[in-house]
Symmetry: C2
Subunit: 799 residues, 2 copies
């Protein structure tokens, strides 16, 4: 019964942990390592992940890509956990240096820190709002020019014939914009592709995604999103705002830019993962707030995706950043729109005001809303499955930048062509009322004073299309138009998500949902006699939008609040909530949410909220990595360099043990030290020459560690001479002397709770004599997940 | 330098911990106990708390009260921590029984549990909504009758003279209602006094407040709040809703009522502190939601006050309960108001709709709002200081129920008299417009077609008064009326809070703030020439209300959201936030928030979010209680009974240690067991007779512990014969085998973080050989707080 599970390779799985690979020195005298997992009787871990030969080849061939620094090495097996991701340290490293600094600091010092945190959050909000404003204005202007030119062209050629020239003009316009957007993403910063929400989720969860919060990423993101929206793709500019806010936060809070090589010598206290994470939460919230005009939704988004420990002051600051962000956006947009002081445009997308009086709902409509939620869940699952296949296809065959750019241009051209065809063949003409809100009404073959209703959906920025679907009078769209639009836009959006362009999936999802929701409302009104009084199509469009978006992204609490804030009407709270719940339940039955799919496809060791429910029979003994590479409190430099240089293990944390002098007893745990700390120590040559018993180094400050943060040099770049290898290093001052520990018998849920609640990176497992027997890291915990057949264990792979 | 702090009495301070008092057996062979605290050099803990002889006498004389079960023994020194409060266990007790049950449970079983959690939350929301609805309707009806009778009486006597008869009628009406309310509170359930928010805060924080979530408390609360509102006191019915929701939650989630002696045999899994706390959070949120029509605000309130570990699914369920609650209230109220389906009354208090168009604000108004925030902070601090003095006076002199009832009646009579006088001498007559919203306009000495404007504020339920201050046309009130009203209502409300009646402070605060805010707006409009266009008094009334409420209760995030949701207008978010921030900062400079003052006056060991900033120089060694009463894994029954019976220590948690057989080495920690568990074991006689080596008991189930939860019998009620005293008890199966531990050198903030994030009750401090050296409990951590002169240490006292 035992030993039915084996790890892929013990030498290759211990990236984050200090578990030894072959040849690394064992902790002398410790217990025998337990390579195998004892499974309790009657249970077995269901194994799916296999690393087939084909997969391995695939990875080898993609090695050249990874060397060029682009994340093309995504394995196309989501039952793997990649070892390449490091974790972030969301637990303070309480070593002597840190404690001394904290103890030196006066009450007033802490108060100043608190004030500077508020200042940073204010700045984050302000800058995020400005960026949102910039994106909005540029998109408005460029899209205005594009649609104006194409409209004039179409109008010219409608009469004389030869509309194919208009089509070509439109397609060329789109492709050109998209080409620029795709080139900067594919060639300069591939991490800027997509909405960035999965990456920020991972970051807040504690996974270090390389280059995700750099200035270059921000620039590419902003440029890319402008190009892809103006290029007419089925995308939104809202998702990327979250990523942009996060980058702004990471930059502002550090008081320096490594890319620009400028250090303003401020906020040095914040140069560690814990503080930076807090600010990034605020930045993400500010991004949501600017995107949807939903400051509370932004706070909840940050909490839902990131925070494990709820801290009142932190949340309050996050809220402040969100408020400032939406206010800044609103203020500058009001100036741009020549209505200074009009604070009614709090976000990039504005759903328009839903008045309670006109669109109240009745109790008997609630089952209808729930049915819409189910439809949304189904369609969302379909969307996700299609996109999943597409992504696997892309990973296999479209991993060269030039191919990616070409695919993006192709999508742009096809989008233009399909839109044009739909408009061309549509004969849904609507009278051009005095209160019409269409920016670019296309007359085409309609009578004078009428416009093509299909064009309001296709020949428009997606934000405007959503608003017109919500608010246009009943009868503005005929059912056929809506049905066709839903169908085509669904496939276009699905194809578009995952292209090498910066773009979000929120707005396309809302648009698809609003279209079929409105269709649902119209059909409902037609089959009921009293329909006209309650089946207002706009209301159903809103519910459809919520259902579709919920079905795709599967966010719950924050999405409800975002939708409520965006509609500005609290009384829709309950139905929106029910719709989102239903769509999540239905969708989850088939497949995970879109972001989770992409996170899984990247093999990120993502920690969920709780350990799988049925994992109580696993204990720390079974999940931990062992044996562990331990260091002595006073260790030879040569040994440390060797351990750090061992590429087959690449450990990041090492328990420090102390041997009682002249005693046979095994060594006791006395601390924990990180690779990054050792690197700084080696760089500054903090060695003790035992022979002459003198210190050859100056006293190291916390500042030295902060200066090196976050880009610690690799061990290869540090030269240690043969003489120096014989020196000793005293780790006493630098190690975390009080790491959290658990006994071997601790159940997995308990280990998980401790690990997740405190944002740990390494958790030492000790026996009842306080000797190190193992180390639990993120990957050891993320490996277990609840599959269809009970508890499954993911494979770890060096992808 | 060492030993400058001494504890009051070592034998009396260890309630929660297992620290030994005199005479309890020490852990054999453990380290020497550290009675004294070694303070690091150059620092000293500032000591303020003194237990003067007067205080001690006070306590002794009040002993007779405490025996009668009423919490009259409040010490009037807020620099004390009471030992009488036990803690709740928000960490699962993972003993073998629990793990076996969890392991037996299938995936489907967990899913069913999850579904039943949702059902419970739905029920909580529904019942809370119903209770709110009941209170609202009864208050409306009774107040309607009262005001109608008094109005007719006044109208009759206005012409013929002899208005003093009307005054007497009014005062008698009020006093009668208040008498009923005060009698049920003072004689039947004193814990139901006040708003209940401090009690719920403490409960969610992990402090066990006796009788706080019982059915009787709920009944008294509901009856009491109706009486005090109808009795015309300066109180609101909103605060008590939070308490009511919490009681509903605690009751429904347990599937039984101990008071009614009914056990429905459902939800047995939820019979432990962790699960119950989660539901109580949902109940409190549902209460806020019903009170203010603010479901998101409710969720944030629960999180702000309670949750330490953010859990996505839990929050989502809390939100569900909140939504159902506001929906239920709204639905039934719409039927009561003969407008079924009109969902525009989501809460007990309805601020009325603020339209963006009519009351937009400008950038230059923001400094004005901030100034209002400062005023609110000042007035709030004044309110709190006055109420603090009053509370101390009450503790000393008004602790008999009959005195309490008389005081309440006096306040009711005075309120009526003052109101009447104000109305009588006011000559602010306003025309009775066609759109007037006053329910009971008093003409009094005004001309026909006019009404007394002072009466709209005083001769009305406070909720209506708030609404008319927000929304009445400019010019409805003259400044003198508002000034006098603010002044009198301020003192009335301050006098009223803390009476032995169920009542909240939210509405009076809003009312005071709205009055001076409107006054502020009117003065502003009069000194600016362009005043009429922007200085809308209603807007300033809103800001004033926010400022005053913030200055009194000092809530931040949740209050902002509650205000925004209650106004139904998101664009006020930023100003409300700034106002609340300012009022909090200004108010905190002088005195704490009202709830915190009352919590402190009760000497509750309340844990804040983080350890005091300047506490890094304290370590677990200094804060822990030691030496610790430990039990052996197989312990003599007699020893256990003796330890449990020791009234001088009254410990609740005991580390379990194991001695390696035939070895001199000291015992190692192997588990932790609670008093409540030992009681159940003793009750079921789970003894092993070593002589005959057989088990004399049936196998104990988790069910036995759940049946005894939460009212475990005292040790005195369990009879153990002399023979049985010689038996042994095997604790192996019942102890938590993997308690969290920290080394002695761990800094206080680190200990605090672990303790708070995981909701612990006992944290074992071990040395580097895993031997028990101390125990950290809530009181050890709550003792340290940041005072004006740096870190202060509170005294522990057996109050």
């Amino acid at each position: 019964m035992a030993n039915i599970t084996k790890k892929v390779s013990w030498s290759s799985r211990a990236d984050e942990s200090g578990a030894t690979g072959e040849g690394t020195p064992l902790l002398n005298g410790s217990e025998q390592p337990r390579h195998s997992r004892q499974l309790s009787e009657g249970r077995s871990i269901f194994q799916i992940g296999r690393l087939s030969t084909v997969d391995l080849e695939e990875e080898i061939t993609s090695d050249e890509d990874s060397l060029r620094g682009r994340p093309k090495e995504i394995p196309h097996n989501e039952k793997l956990l990649s070892l390449k991701y490091e974790s972030l340290d969301y637990d303070n490293i309480e070593n002597q240096l840190f404690l001394e600094e904290e103890r030196r600091m006066s009450h007033m010092g802490f108060r100043c820190l608190e004030i500077s945190r508020w200042v940073v959050c204010g700045l984050i909000g302000f800058l995020t709002g400005l960026i949102a404003c910039f994106i909005d204005i540029v998109v408005e202007e460029l899209a205005g020019i594009k649609y104006q030119v194409v409209k004039e062209n179409i109008e010219k050629f409608t009469e004389v014939g030869g509309l194919s020239i208009s089509l070509i003009l439109w397609a060329v316009f789109n492709s050109a914009f998209v080409m620029v957007g795709a080139i900067i993403v594919a060639y300069f910063e591939p991490i800027a592709a997509g909405s960035g929400i999965p990456q920020i989720k991972c970051y807040l969860n504690g996974v270090k995604i390389p280059r995700v919060v750099r200035l270059k990423t921000l620039l590419v993101k902003v440029g890319g999103v402008i190009c892809s929206v103006v290029g007419g793709l089925a995308v939104g500019k809202e998702g990327p705002m979250i990523h942009s806010g996060a980058v702004v936060a990471a930059g502002v809070s550090q008081g320096r830019s490594t890319s620009l090589k400028r250090d303003f010598k401020i906020f040095e206290y914040f140069r560690r993962d814990t503080e930076k994470r807090d600010f990034v939460s605020a930045g993400a919230a500010a991004g949501v707030s600017a995107a949807f005009g939903a400051p509370v939704g932004g706070v909840l988004f940050s909490l839902e995706e990131g925070a494990s420990f709820w801290n009142q002051m932190l949340t309050w600051r996050i809220f402040f950043a969100s408020m400032i962000s939406t206010f800044t956006l609103n203020f500058f947009l009001s100036i741009y729109h020549n209505k200074p002081g009009d604070l009614s445009n709090p976000g990039l997308i504005n759903f328009g005001r839903f008045e309670t009086e006109s669109v109240a709902y009745n109790l008997y409509e609630i089952p209808l809303f729930i049915a819409m939620g189910a439809i949304g869940g189904l369609l969302g699952a379909l969307f996700n499955v299609l996109n999943y296949w597409l992504t696997i296809f892309r990973i296999r065959y479209v991993h060269r930048p030039c191919l990616q750019v070409m695919e993006a241009m192709l999508v742009a051209a096809v989008t233009a062509t399909v839109s044009f065809t739909m408009i061309y063949f549509s004969n849904d003409c609507q009278p051009l009322g005095p209160e019409h809100t269409e920016e670019y009404p296309l007359q085409l073959f309609c009578a004078d004073g009428e416009y093509n209703s299909m064009a309001t959906a296709f020949f428009n920025t997606p934000e405007r299309s959503v608003r017109s679907l919500f608010h246009n009078q009943p009868g503005t769209y005929n059912p056929l138009t809506l049905g066709l639009f839903t169908l085509t836009y669904f496939f276009l959006a699905c194809w578009t998500y995952g292209l090498a362009v910066s773009a979000g999936v929120f707005i396309p999802s809302l648009l698809i949902g609003a279209a079929w929701g409105r269709l649902f409302g119209i059909l409902l009104a037609s089959i009921t006699t009293t329909g006209s009084t309650w089946a207002v199509p706009g209301k159903y469009a809103l519910m459809g939008a919520a259902a579709q978006l919920g079905g795709i992204v599967r966010m719950t609490l924050s999405l409800t609040v975002i939708m409520v804030e965006a509609t500005g009407n609290i009384s829709y709270g309950l139905p929106i909530m029910l719709v989102l719940m239903t769509s999540k339940i239905v969708g989850d039955y088939f497949v995970e949410g879109l972001y989770d799919i992409h996170i899984k496809l990247q093999s990120v060791p993502f920690l969920h909220w709780e350990a799988p429910a049925t994992s109580h029979w696993l204990t720390a003994r079974e999940v931990m990595s062992s044996p562990v590479t331990c260091l002595n409190r006073i260790e030879k430099v040569g040994t440390i360099v060797d351990i750090l240089s061992n590429t087959s293990t690449n450990h990041n944390g090492f328990p420090v043990v102390v041997q009682v002098a002249g005693n046979d007893e095994p060594a006791k745990l006395c601390g924990l030290i990180l690779r990054s700390q050792l690197i700084v120590l080696l760089k500054h040559k903090v060695f003790v020459e035992l022979a002459r018993s003198r210190l050859t180094h100056r006293k190291l400050q916390l500042k030295d560690f902060r200066d090196a943060y976050p880009r610690f040099p690799p061990i290869q770049s540090i030269h240690v001479s043969q003489d120096e290898r014989e020196c000793m290093m005293d780790l006493m001052e630098f190690m975390n002397a009080t790491p959290y520990t658990v006994p071997q018998e601790t159940s997995l849920p308990r280990v998980f709770k401790l690990f997740r609640a405190l944002g740990l990176r390494h958790l030492v497992v000790v026996d009842d004599e306080n000797r190190v027997v193992g180390l639990v890291t993120r990957k050891d915990l993320a490996r277990y997940h609840l599959g269809k057949h009970g508890l499954e264990e993911l494979q770890l792979a060096q992808t």
